[in-house]
Subunit: 158 residues, 2 copies
C-alpha cells in the first residue's frame, strides 16, 4: 500500500547542531558518572569496603562477583566489586607493578602510588569492556603523578 | 646536591577530581570547536566558498591547500579547504557513494544526503588525522539520516 508523505522543511544545520548537542550531553553524562563512581570509591568506609555490590563495577556483569583491593590488600582497605574475569585481569596487571607492592608497611607515597595504579588499571579495563574512551583518557592523566609518587624519597630528600 | 623537600598533605581525591575537571573542560572545548567549525561551513556565502583558507581544515597542514566541494560540485557550492593529501582521501571516498552522485539536477533530499555524506567523511578523516574520537562519534550519528535521505521518494511517496 502506498502512503503519501508530506515533507517538513529540512535543514541540515538543525540536524547537525542537534547531534552536536546530543554528543555534548552524552560526554557530560559519561564524565559525571565517572566522577560520582570514583568519589564513591574514595569515600567508602571500612564497613562498605567489606560488602560486594550486585554487579561488576567494570563490565556490569552479575554472576561470580568478588571483592578486589584496589591498591592491594597490604596497602589500602578500599575495594572494587569485580566479576571473576575482570578480577583476573586486574590481578594479572598487578604483577607488572613496582616490586615494593609485595612488601608490607610501605610509606604513604608508595601506598598512594599503588592506589592510583589500581585506579589506572581499572579505568583502562573499563574502556576495554565498555568501548568508552573517557576512562582510558582519565587513566593516562594519572601517569605522571604515579611516577612522581614512586620516585619520591619518603624521608623528605630528593 | 641534596635538597630538602617538605611534603604538602597529599589527597588523591583532590588529584583525581582535578583530572576529571580537566577532562570535562577538554571535551567541552573540543565539542565547542567542532560546533563553531561546522556552523561556519553551513553558513558560508558563495563568495566565501570561493576562497581558500590558510591551512587544511582537516589536518592543519599549510602547503598545497585546495578547495574541496563538500557535497560534490554538482550538488552544492559549499567548500572546505583541504591539503593535497586530505583532498585525495576525500575524493577517493566519494567513489563509494550512491551512483546518483555522478548526475546533475538531483532532488533536494539527494543533494542533502551528499552534503551530509561529505561532512561524514571529513569528520572520519579528522579523527584519523587528529586522533580525537569526537569527530568520528559525530560522523556516526549522521548515518541513519543519510540512509533516510537516500531512500526517500522525492515525489512524496514511500
Ligand atoms: Zn567484569
Ligand atoms: Zn583483587
Ligand atoms: Zn590535510
Ligand atoms: Zn574535492
Amino acid at each position: 500500500m502506498k502512503q503519501t508523505v508530506s515533507f517538513t522543511p529540512f535543514d541540515l544545520s538543525v540536524l547537525v547542531n542537534s547531534k552536536i548537542g546530543a554528543l555534548r550531553d552524552e560526554k557530560l553524562e559519561d564524565i559525571n558518572f565517572a566522577e560520582a563512581w570514583l568519589n564513591q570509591i574514595f569515600n567508602q568506609s571500612l564497613e562498605q569496603a567489606s560488602h560486594k555490590k550486585k554487579s561488576c563495577e567494570v563490565c556490569s556483569s552479575q554472576p561470580d562477583c568478588e571483592l578486589h583491593h584496589i591498591a592491594g590488600r597490604k596497602h589500602d582497605f578500599r575495594t572494587l566489586t569485580a566479576c571473576k574475569q575482570c578480577h583476573t585481569e586486574l590481578t594479572e596487571s598487578q604483577k607488572t607493578w613496582d616490586a615494593r607492592w609485595y612488601k608490607y608497611n610501605q610509606p604513604e607515597n608508595i601506598r598512594l602510588a599503588f592506589f592510583l595504579l589500581g585506579l589506572h588499571d581499572i579505568l583502562l579495563l573499563k574502556t576495554k569492556k565498555t568501548a568508552n574512551s573517557i576512562y582510558e583518557e582519565l587513566a593516562k592523566s594519572f601517569r605522571q603523578e604515579i611516577a612522581t609518587l614512586l620516585t619520591r624519597d619518603p624521608r623528605g630528600q630528593t
